[in-house]
């Protein structure tokens, strides 16, 4: 049987650089010119199948309003296997913001986390403020993956996620949450949702 792996991926970057648009393109192959700031959906999954038939399922966390004032919860980084830090190639300030997110990740996240720096809105290269060389050089110095994407045209999107999937350790201990039940330390967890159905109909009292 082919291997199935599951990983938690977090998105970081300044507001409006296109984090949610990248996810939308990757997961649903759609694009929306007038996207509102992320509301209502920030937990999506998408699967990538590698050449050796290994399937890598990403559990994708989008930031949603907590990053604006640097108030992301530790829960957000917890057990993240990979992070995509996004900047907008037409806004040099957004690369500065990306650098500070990368420093934050290096401090807070698991040291083995795989970080990809992603220059989005490549379709707007006429208004480019961040050169490929500059971003690439920085990524190399910090040991990050790097690529340019356009959530609008779709260019580079599948490629960057597939590159991450390939780089993820294929025999890694699965993260507690992303790897499903079991957790890192022994005794299996309990699934509250499984009981949800039973609970609603649960009026018979003591069945101990």
């Amino acid at each position: 049987m082919s291997k199935q792996l599951q990983f938690k991926l977090v998105l970081l970057g300044e507001s409006a650089v296109g984090k949610s648009s990248l996810v939308l393109r990757f997961v649903k192959d759609q694009f929306d010119d007038y996207r509102e700031s992320t509301i209502g959906a920030a937990f999506l999954t998408q699967t990538v199948t590698l050449e050796d038939q290994t399937t890598v399922k990403f559990e994708i966390w989008d930031t949603a309003g907590q990053e604006r004032y640097k108030s992301l919860a530790p829960m957000y980084y917890r057990n993240a296997n990979c992070a995509v830090v996004v900047y907008d190639i037409t806004q040099s300030a957004s690369l500065e913001k990306a650098r500070s997110w990368i420093r934050e990740l290096q401090r807070q996240a698991d040291p083995s986390i795989i970080i990809a720096l992603c220059g989005n809105k490549a379709d707007l290269s006429a208004r480019r403020q961040v050169s490929e060389e500059e971003a690439k050089k920085y990524a190399e110095e910090e040991g990050l993956m790097w690529g340019e994407t356009s959530a609008k045209s779709g260019e580079g999107v599948q490629e960057i996620f597939t590159a991450i999937a390939k780089k993820l350790p294929q025999n890694a201990p699965q993260s507690a949450r992303a790897g499903g039940r079991g957790g890192p330390s022994g005794r299996a967890g309990v699934d509250l949702n499984k009981q949800a159905g039973a609970m609603t109909g649960q009026n018979e009292p003591c069945n101990c």
Partner: protein, 449 residues
């Protein structure tokens, strides 16, 4: 900060975060602030650095407790009762996707100088030393009575009226000994004192049913606990709020609650900026708790004190069969007190500390002016204590319902061992803020790719 909000929420404790999450889902524009640079307020879980900063700012971290980042030490000891209301909210709001839970391995009760496991299976019950043979038979009759009770079938009532007869009357009818009453009232119905006995039996009946159905749900104890500590709970609801448009600002000093001439809420001042909103919700610490009332209105009053001792152990608690987690209840009668003493213990199984460390919190409602002596019977059960952080906290309650000035203050976290009163408080505040009952909408079941 020149936007105007529907609601500003102050403090990221669990009560505030659940409210913030539910209000955002309801479509309200929420700004959620905290003076601390971490989530959770009084219900946070801290790493070692944060714990020492809070309790012993002048002391360096010990080197033999393992990695700082492995720690998530709860400030208030509570467990989630498996079939309780918090579980229902967790499931309905779908925040369970951010959390992972494990059982608490055992629930114990102190009786005549030693602790025994609260039986979780028939086998354990038969073997339990908590009751003699004849008392077990009487207890069995009592539990059968509760189990078979149907409101609309008088044949199951055996002459008892749950809404009129006191619990003492019910105990008497089944001839249960005082020790069994302690066990049922304190280890199962989870009452902190004996006041319930003189009151109608219905609430006690409901609590026993909640306990036994929770016990039956996962098998070992009626409790579950989130990996990485209780502090994950407020974080998960904060995320829910953020996903529905809530804005978060941590590490923000709250300098003034601004009101108009009539005393009605206008906004919150932080430094030189004032953010406006229609309503404010917050924990007592943002409304003058613990400060002298010389400046302005008295908005909260103290209604009691709780002592909590966070203890690091390097061994499981003796007599618990090396349980990796446990609750131990010392019923008040057993140690000549008015209020029970609780011990809540978790360990690396729940990803809250380094391997081979056990974190036990001993707590009770303060009855004297020497609170630390009051918890001695609990501390004694722990064996050698590696280190201990003791705090006495006041429990505050608001002086008004908040409807007049649109300032809604939540109550402090009480001494109960679970979150049921927190959920009551959420319902309570919701009703005052929104003007109608909180109805948890049915969860949309989403099939993921």
């Amino acid at each position: 900060m020149d936007e105007e909000y529907d609601v500003i929420v102050l403090g990221t404790g669990l009560t505030e975060c659940i409210l913030s999450g539910l209000l955002s889902v309801e479509g309200k524009k929420v700004l959620h602030m905290d003076r601390n640079d971490y989530y959770g307020g009084d219900s946070a879980s801290l790493n070692l650095t944060q714990l020492y900063r809070k309790f012993r700012p002048d002391q360096a971290l010990p080197t033999d407790l393992g990695r700082d980042r492995d720690y998530a030490v709860d400030l208030i000891p509570k467990f989630i009762i498996a079939s309780g209301e918090l579980t229902r909210i967790l499931v309905h709001t779908d925040v369970t996707r951010y959390l992972e839970f494990k059982q608490i391995a055992g629930s114990f009760v102190y009786r005549d100088g030693r602790i025994s496991k609260v039986p979780s299976t028939e086998m354990e019950a038969v073997k339990s030393p908590l009751m003699g043979l004849f008392e077990k038979r009487r207890a069995k009759k009592f539990f059968e009575f509760l189990q078979n009770w149907k409101d609309d079938d008088p044949a199951t009532h055996q002459g008892i009226n749950l809404d009129k007869d006191s619990m003492a009357t019910v105990y008497e009818k089944f001839g249960l000994e005082p020790g069994t009453q302690d066990f049922i009232g304190h280890a199962m119905a989870l009452y902190l004192d004996d006041d319930y006995k003189t009151k109608p039996a219905r609430p006690t009946y409901e609590r026993i049913v909640l306990y036994t159905s929770s016990m039956a749900r996962y098998g070992k104890s009626p409790y579950i606990y989130p990996l990485y500590g209780l502090g994950e709970l407020p974080q998960s609801f904060a995320r829910l709020s953020a996903i529905y448009g809530g804005t978060y600002m941590l590490d923000k000093s709250i300098d003034e609650i601004v009101t108009d001439d009539s005393g009605k809420f206008v906004g919150v001042r932080s430094g030189s900026e004032t953010v406006k909103a229609k309503q404010v919700i917050g924990d007592p610490s943002y409304f003058g708790a613990g400060k002298s009332a010389e400046s302005g209105k008295v908005r909260v009053v103290e209604e009691g004190k709780v002592i909590r001792a966070i203890c690091f152990l390097k061994h499981p608690i003796p007599g618990t069969d090396d349980a990796d987690s446990a609750q131990i209840i010392i019923p008040q009668n057993q140690v000549n007190r008015r209020n029970d003493i609780y011990i809540a213990m978790v360990s690396s199984t729940h990803n809250v500390c380094a391997k081979d460390v056990y974190v036990a919190i001993v707590s009770t409602i303060v009855e004297t002016d020497r609170p630390e002596q009051e918890i001695a019977p609990g501390l004694q059960l722990l064996g050698p204590i590696y280190d201990k952080f003791v705090s006495v906290s006041s429990l505050y309650t608001p002086t008004s319902s908040g409807e007049a000035d649109q300032i809604f203050i939540t109550r402090s976290y009480d001494a109960t061992s679970h979150f049921e009163t927190v959920v009551d408080e959420v319902h309570n505040v919701w009703k005052r803020v929104v003007g109608k009952e909180l109805v948890l909408k049915k969860r949309e079941v989403e099939v993921e790719a």
